[in-house]
C-alpha cells in the first residue's frame, strides 16, 4: 500500500509538473515588457517559495526536536531533509533569477536587497548542511543542528533588514517598484498558481523520499553495529582460553 501511495504521489508530481511546463512554455502569453523571459518566472517564483517553505519546516522540526516532550530522531532527519531540498531550490532560484535578470535588467546580478539576502541565505544553509555531515551520535548531531538551524532562521530577517537598509541609504531606487500596479493576464495568473502548487507537491515528494533514505541510513548504522558486536562475541567464544 505504502509503495502504491508513494508511486501515486510520484506520478501525480510528474503529471503536475508536465502541465506546468505546457502552460508556462506554450499556453500562457508572452509579456509586453519582458517578452519570452517572463516564462522563467513560472520557475523562479515556485522555487523561492519552496526554499522558504523548506527552511520554515527545518526550523519547525528543529523546535520539535528541542522540546523534550516531542523529541524524536525523525524530527532531526526531517530538518535535514528539508534543508537539503531548500538549499537546492535556493540555488535554482539564484541561477534562474540571474538568467531572467540578464534580458530584463541587462545584467545577471544587482545588489538588490532581495538578491543579496537570498545569496546569504544560500550560504547560511550550506553551512548548516556542512554541520550535519560532520559525524557524531544522533543525539549530539540533533542538538547541534537544531540550535544551528534556529540561529540561521533567526538571522535571516536581521540580514534582510540590514541589507535593505544598506540599499535604501546608498541607492536612489531599487529594481522593484511597488508603485506600478501590474495587471496579470488570466492564464498567466493560473500558470503561476498551478506551478506553485505543483512544485509544492514536488517538495513534499522529495522530502518524503529523502527522509526515508535518512531513516534507512540510520538503521543501517545500527545494524552494522549489531553485526560487529555479534561477530566479536562469536570470535571470543571460538577461541579457547
Amino acid at each position: 500500500m505504502t509503495f502504491l501511495r508513494e508511486r501515486g504521489l510520484g506520478i501525480s508530481v510528474v503529471v503536475a509538473l508536465a502541465i506546468t511546463a505546457v502552460f508556462a512554455l506554450w499556453i500562457s502569453p508572452r509579456d509586453i515588457e519582458q517578452g519570452e523571459a517572463v516564462r522563467l518566472l513560472y520557475l523562479h517564483v515556485p522555487t523561492i517559495w519552496i526554499a522558504f517553505l523548506a527552511f520554515f519546516v527545518t526550523a519547525l522540526s528543529s523546535v520539535l526536536w528541542l522540546v523534550p516532550r516531542t523529541r524524536s530522531t525523525t524530527w532531526d532527519l526531517l530538518a535535514g531533509a528539508s534543508a537539503e531540498v531548500g538549499v537546492v531550490f535556493t540555488g535554482i532560484t539564484l541561477v534562474v533569477g540571474s538568467l531572467w535578470g540578464r534580458p530584463t535588467w541587462g545584467t545577471y546580478w544587482v545588489w538588490d536587497a532581495r538578491l543579496t539576502t537570498t545569496a546569504i541565505l544560500f550560504f547560511l544553509y550550506l553551512g548548516y548542511l556542512a554541520l550535519r555531515r560532520t559525524g557524531s551520535t544522533a543525539e549530539e548531531r540533533g542538538k547541534r543542528c537544531a540550535i544551528a538551524a534556529l540561529i540561521a532562521f533567526a538571522d535571516v530577517p536581521i540580514v534582510h533588514f540590514s541589507v535593505t537598509w544598506w540599499q535604501t541609504l546608498h541607492q536612489s531606487g531599487t529594481v522593484f517598484n511597488n508603485k506600478i500596479s501590474v495587471q496579470i493576464h488570466g492564464s498567466m495568473a493560473f500558470t503561476l498558481l498551478w506551478s506553485v502548487a505543483s512544485f509544492t507537491l514536488f517538495y513534499v515528494y522529495l522530502v518524503m523520499r529523502r527522509l526515508q533514505l535518512a531513516e534507512l541510513e540510520e538503521g543501517l548504522e545500527e545494524r552494522e553495529l549489531e553485526i560487529a558486536i555479534t561477530e566479536r562475541v562469536r570470535a571470543e567464544q571460538v577461541v579457547p582460553v
Binding site: I120, A130, L131, K143, R144, A152
Partner: protein, 224 residues
Amino acid sequence: MTFLTDALLVAGKDLRIERRSRVALQQILPFGGIVVVIFAFALDANRASLPEAAPGLFWAAVLLAALLAISRSFAVEESNGARDGLRLSGIDAGSIFVGKAVAIAVELFLLEVVLGAAVIVLYGVTVHGVVVLLCTALAATIGLAATGTVYGVLATGLRARDTLVPLLVLPAVTPVMLGATRAFAAALDGTTSDAWPWVQLLAAFAILVIAAGTVAFGPLLEEA
C-alpha cells in the same frame, strides 16, 4: 554578581593563555597586517580607490583575523581535558560563554587598534568622528566575538572544526560587516548622523546574539 565575576575569571584565563603563548601576538596580528597589505595590491595602491574602500577593507581584515581568534579560543580547550575542567568547575555555562566572548572581544579590539593605525598610514585615511568610530568598533566587536563563540562551541570536537567555523560564521555576521563598514564610511565622510542608526543596529545584533548564546551555550558545552 557571581555571573559576572565568573565570566571575568574565564576571560582572564583565556587572555592569560594568549599573553603567555603569544599566538595572538605572533600569528593573528601579523596575519591581519598582511591582509591589509594584500588588499592594497588587490585594489592597486597607486589609485585613489584605497581611502574610499578603507572602511570595508579594514572590517574584512578584522573579520578574517577574527576567524583565527575564534578557532584559537576553542583550540586551547582541546588539550589536557581543559573542556572537562571547565564543565566540572561549577561555573554557569552562560558565564563561560560571556567570558570566552569577552576574551575574544578584547583581543579583537587590540587588533583593531593596530590595524586601524596601519590603515590610516598605508591607505592614507584622514580620521573624522572618533567617538562614532569607537562606538562602532565596540558594538561590532562584541557582536562578532559573541557570534564566533556560539559557532565555536557548536563545532567543538568535530573533525572538520577549523574549516566549518568560517563557513558558519561569515554568512551569519553579514549585518556586522555591513553595519560597521557603513558606519565607518559615514564617520570618515564627516556625516556622523548617518552612522548612528548603524551603531544601533550593531548594538541590537550584539544583544540578540549574547542572549541567544547565553541560553544555547549550556546544552552545547554539555554535548561537546
